[in-house]
């Protein structure tokens, strides 16, 4: 963003507010800053920069499908957080409560949906609603944590490659190309087997003992899965960010930052990355459903989440085995998952339209 005459331009980094007056005519630079180093904002026009997000928010709220998506996601998040404790308090069922254990295992049976079990039970008699909600926690966490991992790696990788350019860029992007060519399933399996069991990194063990108690191998495996999925899903993110940075790095505010002696890491992460945030947010919203689908696919193959833990993918995979006799075992987890993915995709689309006014012209 820049205002001012042709020879003298005031440039503003929209997000961090760093401003400077750069004189392009070659005369002595004039910086019009107040004592605190912040530009005097009374000039009015500059405030427009901050309203980018407000504008986008307004446009997003106009998009009915995106609002629908946000509401469904909100309800889903609240339900998976408070659902399992409520079910335990009201009916006494937990996701891993097997009634037949108490009867001596004599009458193991899958019950159809009823008042007591709104989604029926699985073939061990576990309440399916409780399991779907519990599975939702893991499925949503897979989506969120893996997307954060892919954000951290992908954004840094793409931003550094794009800003430094030249040979470094070439090398970094060829690495991305090569990892693209290796089937991701191979990478996930190797990561899971190399870092599984006794080789689990300490911070993963720490995470799982924080959430479920020390030495919980099943939970460690799940956190490892989050990490592995994140580590294979950053490639496209890196490309998206690199493209953005390439188009941003020659703009005046970068020049201004360089002129005022800002270090390279600070230029990349405080000035460039925040300006590329729009496409990054959009792409991240679309990464969440794709990671969740991948997790479901891995669980379907028996490589993902294992009993007694559940995810929507593993529940659906279990349901498929009994599809003829107990169709509710597939339908409920499957529909819940499809609804969530549907909402995430709509939200992602709505965000893209809202944050990128270019696409709204038509």
């Amino acid at each position: 963003m820049s205002v001012g005459s042709a020879s003298q331009r005031l440039v503003v980094c929209t997000f961090c507010g760093a401003t400077s007056m750069v004189d392009l005519s070659g005369a002595e630079p004039k910086l019009r800053l107040d004592e605190s180093g912040v530009l005097d904002r009374s000039s009015g026009e500059l405030v427009a920069g901050a309203s980018l997000w407000k504008d986008a928010w307004k446009r997003l709220l106009k998009n009915k499908l995106a609002v629908f998506g946000m509401i469904v996601l909100g309800v889903m998040v609240v339900a998976v957080i408070i659902g399992p404790p409520i079910i335990r308090l009201t009916t006494g069922f937990t996701p891993d409560y097997i009634p037949s254990d108490i009867d001596g295992g004599a009458r193991v049976q899958s019950f159809p949906p009823s008042v007591q079990h709104p989604m029926g039970t699985d073939d061990k008699g576990r309440d399916l609603l409780a399991r779907v909600l519990q599975g939702g926690r893991i499925s949503l966490m897979v989506g969120i944590i893996s997307t954060i991992v892919s954000l951290l790696v992908g954004v840094s990788w793409g931003a550094i490659a794009g800003y430094i350019g030249g040979r470094v860029d070439n090398l970094m992007m060829r690495i991305v190309d090569i990892i693209y060519a290796i089937p991701y399933i191979l990478i996930v399996i190797v990561l899971l087997s190399v870092f599984g069991g006794p080789n689990t990194p300490d911070f993963i063990d720490a995470l799982s003992s924080f959430f479920g108690g020390a030495g919980n191998q099943g939970l460690s495996q799940i956190f490892l899965l989050f990490l592995a999925l994140g580590l294979v899903s950053w490639l496209t993110m890196a490309r998206v960010v690199r493209g953005q940075i390439l188009s941003l790095k020659n703009q005046e505010f970068v020049l201004a930052a360089k002129a005022t002696g800002v270090s390279t890491p600070a230029i990349i992460f405080r000035h460039l990355v925040p300006n590329a945030l729009g496409p990054v947010i959009v792409y991240a919203t679309l990464t969440v459903p794709s990671v969740m689908l991948t997790e479901a696919f891995l669980s379907f193959l028996g490589l993902g989440v294992q009993a007694p833990y559940a995810s929507w993918g593993s529940l659906a995979a279990d349901g498929i085995k009994n599809i003829q006799i107990f169709p509710w075992q597939l339908i409920f987890p499957g529909v819940t998952m499809a609804l969530t993915l549907f909402s995430l995709n709509f939200l992602g689309d709505g965000l893209r339209d809202a944050l990128d006014p270019q696409t709204r012209k038509f």
Partner: protein, 305 residues
């Protein structure tokens, strides 16, 4: 142009070797091996196995031997399927995956392009919203849910189609539909976005201004530019479809390459995994090359360096 193609073809070889090397490294990084079971083998037997497969040599020698074999296109015998060469296994299972994959992609192209073009031309109409919502649904329903639902409805309730296995054309219908759903959805969205972008451009205005009828403007000028994103999506998508899609093969009991690949990874069947990875990466790179060449025909503004 010919120089461009030759250069790209030459690059495929070192790239494929690099991918194979990295895959080999990944397999070697993972603990365990193909011969170990829950029971540990007597040391003497283990020694014999190691000698037979050259595992007693230093790692760099093993790597060079592997690389030499791969360069000659000889991946050796599978470790799990005794006495069958990797090439034999790949070419035995490829036709199944390829048949389902190609048919699914054709179906997806047909529905995706049609829906995408109509949606773009009648933007904000009921058809636009309806088809794009359907496409979103296609992207959101996992295919391991869609497949079994189709089986329940068409095989178990209506008895119209066989539920699984390989056989006549009737066996192909359900897997092809299941596989094509997500691709049709993707293509419809890409086509719509591409067409909307192109139909606003100056050269379309020029075409209209010089008095061409709307049909020519749309099909001869608009579509060529509008399907560029679909074409770039087609390269990797088709390569993956040819090599099989695991879920559909599992749900419909099709003896395709996808399951063979997953099994080979799980079994630590190194030669088979390397063979399939090499095959797949070469396929992807060739398709990408074809896509890059076709850009020039679609959009005359694109030039090759």
């Amino acid at each position: 142009m010919i120089g461009f193609i030759l250069r790209r073809l030459l690059i495929i070889i070192p790239m494929a070797l690099l991918v194979v090397s990295l895959t080999w490294g990944l397999i070697r990084l993972a603990p365990g091996n193909f011969y170990s079971d829950e029971r540990s083998l007597p040391p003497a037997i283990e020694e014999n196995i190691k000698r037979k497969y050259g595992l007693d040599k230093p790692v760099y020698q093993q790597y060079l031997i592997m690389l030499g074999n791969v360069v000659r296109g000889d991946f050796g015998d599978s470790l799990k399927y005794q006495g069958q060469s990797v090439n034999e296994i790949i070419f035995r299972h490829l036709p199944y995956s390829a048949t389902v994959g190609v048919l699914a992609y054709l179906l997806a192209l047909f529905f995706g392009l049609t829906a995408g073009i109509i949606a773009a031309l009648r933007q904000n109409s009921a058809f636009d919203y309806g088809s794009m919502a359907t496409a979103m649904l296609g992207l959101s329903v996992p295919n391991f849910v869609l497949g079994p639902i189709l089986v329940i409805v068409f095989s178990l309730w209506l008895f119209w189609l066989p539920p699984a296995r390989w056989g006549g054309i009737s066996n192909l219908i359900l897997p092809v539909i299941t596989l094509s759903a997500i691709y049709a959805a993707y293509i419809a969205r890409l086509t719509r976005a591409g067409m909307l972008e192109v139909m606003r451009s100056d050269y379309i205005r020029t075409a209209r201004a010089k008095g061409l009828d709307e049909k020519t403007v749309l099909l001869k000028h608009g579509l060529r530019g509008g399907i560029v994103p679909v074409v770039s999506f087609t390269g990797p998508a088709l390569a993956n479809l040819l090599a099989g899609t695991v879920v559909v093969e599992k749900v419909f009991a099709i003896p395709g390459l996808g399951n063979i690949f997953i099994q080979s990874v799980l079994n630590r069947d190194e030669p088979l995994t390397l063979g399939i990875v090499a095959f797949l990466s070469i396929l992807i790179m060739i398709f990408n090359l074809v896509v890059d060449i076709s850009y020039g025909f679609l959009d005359p503004r694109i030039r090759y360096e």
